[in-house]
């Protein structure tokens, strides 16, 4: 375990840039912490924290200069690995009547992600399984994922909508990163504990200005890891999978649909939601066409459109689809829950529908046989 000054982040960003990485990470914009290009230390949101509640987010100034003193913002790393809009292929009509295809996008840049939270590491792992480890491998996702250098940051202060301890994904990163950071701020001290999680991480660490952690610094980092789990804003019932599998006709679905806007925000901010739609965009002369993949959502009627109409025509059916898939049938499909407990769907729901509260309510009232109009 090694220690470095917060200012050493400047060197890390520079070294990664020198190695040809496009360095992306947290920065303050539009009243939020978002992920964007980082040029140097000054782009990091030093001294800024955030406040989370159902349908509520506010930046607030901290009384220290913490670089990673926020929870998570509205963006997730999925915007880089599974971009919101992507041209998959270009089709050109040839003079002889045949056609040829061209790749839709240029080769992706190699990216370094700075400030990946443990729940986000778990989310990347889930999307890896979805896109790379099924019968069909998503080549475009694979190309973007392959070269990524991951700098994780363990959580010191979970937010009001966090529940990663319930999902077993945080607040400390176990593996899956190249470098892992823990930010320690105390009386007159501010340093980063850094550890390598891969060979690439070891190599990078060797080029940085760090020193062996003292006994006191080690203890201070351990204190952060011990304290963080005690401050989760929310809890997800441990039997969510079974509870939801039994609750397909529960009256709660229709009740929640009265509040739900079916605006799709929860699915778009979710770091694991992967639904997409395809658009075919032919030119006016009929000489070429592009196939574009766009983020979609199970809350859109069009998403379940088949001959005759959408098969999930009600908002209740769409909310049920999202929640039962995310927390229950995801296990059968991909071998884990689809939820990592980051709390984004709670914070960024314009009307503050709380996934943990929904599961708890269904769990408390059991099967609800009297309901039946859930769909």
């Amino acid at each position: 375990m090694r220690v470095m000054a917060p200012e050493e982040m400047e060197a890390l960003i520079r070294l990664l840039s020198d190695d040809g990485y496009e360095v992306v990470g947290p920065t303050r914009r539009e009243g939020a912490i978002v992920y964007d290009r980082l040029q140097g230390l000054s782009d990091l949101p030093a001294g800024w924290g955030d406040e989370h509640g159902p349908g509520h987010y506010r930046l607030r100034q901290r009384d220290d200069q913490a670089l990673f003193g926020y929870v998570v913002g509205p963006h997730s790393w999925k915007k880089y690995l599974f971009p919101p809009r992507e041209t998959l292929v270009r089709v050109l009509r040839r003079e002889d009547g045949g056609f040829e295809t061209q790749p839709g996008e240029p080769a992706p840049p190699r990216r370094a992600f700075i400030g990946v939270r443990p729940c986000e590491l778990a989310a990347i792992g889930i999307q890896d399984r979805v896109f790379l480890e099924q019968s069909v491998r998503d080549r475009a996702y694979g190309a973007r994922r392959e070269g990524v250098f991951l700098v994780a940051v363990n959580c010191a202060e979970p937010g009001g909508t966090c529940f990663c301890t319930s999902m077993g994904t945080g607040p400390r990163a176990g593996s899956g990163f190249d470098l892992g950071l823990t930010e320690v701020i105390g009386e007159g001290t501010h340093f980063l504990v850094i550890e390598a999680g891969s060979e690439a991480g070891e190599a990078m660490l060797a080029r940085m200005d760090t020193r062996e952690a003292s006994e006191a610094e080690r203890a201070a980092a351990e204190q952060v890891w011990l304290e963080a789990p005690k401050h989760m804003g929310r809890t997800m019932p441990g039997d969510a999978r079974e509870v939801l599998a039994r609750a397909l006709e529960h009256p709660r679905w229709a009740q929640t649909a009265e509040r739900c806007l079916s605006c799709a925000n929860c699915t778009l901010v979710c770091p694991t939601c992967f639904c997409a739609q395809m658009e075919e965009l032919p030119d006016l002369e009929g000489k070429s066409s592009e196939r574009v993949r766009l983020w979609d959502s199970c809350f859109n009627g069009e998403h379940s459109y088949m001959i005759g109409g959408p098969h999930r025509s009600t908002v209740a059916a769409r909310y049920r689809q999202w929640l039962t898939h995310k927390l229950s049938s995801w296990h059968e499909q991909f071998g884990s829950s689809g939820c990592v407990g980051c709390g984004r769907c709670i914070t960024w729901c314009p009307v503050g529908i709380d996934i943990t509260e929904e599961v708890a309510a269904i769990r408390a009232t059991g099967q609800g046989k009297a309901g039946g109009q859930g769909t």
């Binding site: 914009r29 539009e30 009243g31 939020a32 978002v34 349908g55 509520h56 987010y57 506010r58 930046l59 913002g73 509205p74 963006h75 915007k79 919101p84 809009r85 009265e258 509040r259 739900c260 806007l261 079916s262 605006c263 799709a264 925000n265 778009l268 901010v269 658009e279 075919e280 965009l281 032919p282 030119d283 006016l284 002369e285 009929g286 766009l294 983020w295 959502s297 859109n300 009627g301 069009e302 009600t314 908002v315 914070t347 960024w348 729901c349 314009p350 009307v351 503050g352």
Partner: protein, 262 residues
């Protein structure tokens, strides 16, 4: 390649012309369009006129007079396909505010000789008078969506115009939610996409220019807007703009009309 180019006609009813001007605003795409389609009737662009029938008629504006109610029937009869463009043509437009009031009272107030004014009691969407093949929303419409609709009709396919929320475009663009992060009232969650989340991208709430999305839940949004500080009068007015007469917005504004504070 088609031997004979299909003909396009552009018609105006009660409107500001902004939507049909979107066609002229297509710039480079307009040249490609002119190669593919024969612009047969478009007074804003050319005084040359080709007689009907027309393959595709784009209709802008709402029906507000008995004369227009007759004229739209003639246009429908002479058009193979008829697409309405813009909030006026698809919902009645801002002038549909008259639908919530007494038009005769207006004419008495405004005109020296109200008896000379022949106007209908309501401002109607085109679809209230004739069958419409497709309604393209927006105040004004988006030129990318307009080209998509024309393209779709050229090749006989379904237009790819999503009925999902502005939020979807907003999140795809990476904008920060103005409602959640700033407490700014926004109609994005009940409004149909198409503008590219223009206003939230400029840190403003959505004004609902593209009308209600599919499965809109305006009462639930209103409850949240009230929590952000909007009173009954503001809640009434927020839905009563360019798409005031679109049913979900209309019903929601009426719900706030009964309040004595208004």
């Amino acid at each position: 390649m088609r031997v004979q180019r299909p003909t396009l006609a552009v018609w105006k009813f009660a409107s500001c012309d902004g939507c049909q001007l979107t066609l002229l605003d297509c710039e480079d795409a307009l040249l490609a369009l002119a190669d593919t389609i024969r612009i047969a009737h478009f007074p804003e662009a050319s005084s040359a006129r080709v007689e009907g029938p027309w393959d595709l008629s784009l209709v802008e504006g709402s029906i507000t007079t008995p004369e227009d109610a007759e004229r739209i029937r003639e246009i429908r009869r002479a058009s193979r396909h008829l697409v309405t463009i813009g909030a006026c043509a698809t919902s009645g437009g801002i002038q549909a505010l008259r639908n919530f009031a007494d038009v005769e009272a207006f004419t008495r107030q405004v005109y020296a000789r109200p008896d000379w004014i022949q106007t209908l009691a309501t401002s109607d969407p085109i679809a209230a008078h004739v069958p419409v093949d497709f309604e393209l929303r927006g105040c004004p419409i988006d030129k990318g969506q307009l080209l998509e609709v024309i393209n779709a009709f050229l090749y006989g396919r379904r237009p790819q115009i999503p009925a999902s929320s502005v939020c979807e475009e907003c999140k795809r663009a990476g904008h920060v939610c103005v409602m959640v992060a700033h407490g700014t009232p926004c109609l994005g969650p009940v409004t149909q996409a198409g503008c590219g989340a223009l206003c939230p991208g400029c840190h403003r709430g959505c004004y609902g220019c593209f009308g209600p999305k599919e499965t809109p839940n305006a009462p639930a949004l209103s409850a949240q807007l009230a929590q952000l500080g909007m009173d009954q009068g503001q809640l009434l007015r927020v839905y009563r703009t360019f798409n005031a007469n679109a049913n979900p917005f209309r019903e929601e504004s009426l719900r706030h009309e009964s309040d004595p504070d208004h």
